[in-house]
C-alpha cells in the first residue's frame, strides 16, 4: 500500500516549502523553482511542511508592504501541471488548521511517510 502511494507521487523533483507566505521571500523563490522545473517538463511534487502549510490558508492578500503575494502563484500550479500537492499532517494539527479548508486540496502525509517521499524523487530542494 505504501509502495503504491510512493509510485503515485514519484517524480523528478520534490520541492519542500517550509516558510510562510509573509516575512521572507523563501516561499516565493521556492515556488519559482518548482514552476521553472515544470515548465521544462519535469514532474514536480510540492510538499508544504511546518509553517509552509500557512501558504495554503485561503483569502490571503498581498499585504501593506507591497510584496507580491503567493496565492496567485499557487493558483497557477495546475496550469503548469503541478498536481502532486502534499501537506504535512502534523504541521496542520500543530498550527490548528483544518486541512479541508485549505486551497488546492492537498493530500495529507504523515511524518512516517516523509523518508519514502524524499527517496522516490531524483532531486529534493528545500526552501
Amino acid at each position: 500500500m505504501e509502495n503504491d502511494e510512493e509510485q503515485d507521487v514519484a517524480g523528478d523533483l520534490l520541492v519542500i516549502l517550509r516558510h510562510g507566505p509573509h516575512g521572507s521571500s523563501w516561499l516565493r523563490e521556492g515556488l519559482d523553482a518548482a514552476l521553472v522545473a515544470a515548465a521544462f517538463g519535469r514532474r514536480v511534487t510540492l510538499l508544504f511542511m511546518g509553517e509552509g502549510v500557512t501558504a495554503l490558508v485561503p483569502g490571503q492578500q498581498r499585504g501593506p508592504l507591497g510584496q507580491k503575494g503567493t496565492a496567485p502563484t499557487l493558483e497557477m500550479l495546475e496550469m503548469y501541471d503541478i498536481d502532486s500537492l502534499l501537506v504535512e499532517a502534523e504541521a496542520l494539527s500543530r498550527l490548528g488548521l483544518d486541512g479541508d479548508e485549505l486551497m488546492l486540496s492537498p493530500r495529507r502525509v504523515e511524518a512516517a511517510a516523509l523518508p519514502g517521499l524524499t527517496a522516490c524523487h531524483s532531486l529534493v530542494l528545500t526552501f
Partner: protein, 130 residues
Amino acid sequence: MRYGILLMGAPYSSQAAHSALRFARAVAGRGHRLEAVFFYHEGVHNAARLAAPPQDEPHLVDGWAALSADHGVPLQVCIAAALRRGLLDEREAARHGKQGHSVEPPFELTGLGQLVDLGLRCDRLVTFGP
C-alpha cells in the same frame, strides 16, 4: 563523484557561504568533479563585484573566482533573484539603463532551469543556506 552546490546564504551574514566555499575546495581537492555552484535566494550577493570586506577577513567573492579559475567550476547566478537585489552584469545594466554593473565573470547570470538541470545531472547536490 559529480557534485553540485546550491548556495542560498548571503556572504558575511551567515556561515553558509563560508562553509560552501570550504566544501567546494574540499570536493575539488579530493579529485571529485564539481559541476557548478548555483547562487540563489540571498546567495546571489556572493557575486557582488564591489564587495570590499576588511583585509583580515576571507574575501568570499574573490574566493569563488579563484575556485573557478583553479578548477574550471562554472559560477551560475539566478538572474531573477539577482536583478531584484541589484546584482546586474554589464549587459543587464545597459538593458535597464543603469550606470555601472555589479556582477562580472566568472560569475554568470542564468536561469533557474540551470539549477534543476544541475541537480538532476549530479550525483549529489549539496545545499547551503542560513
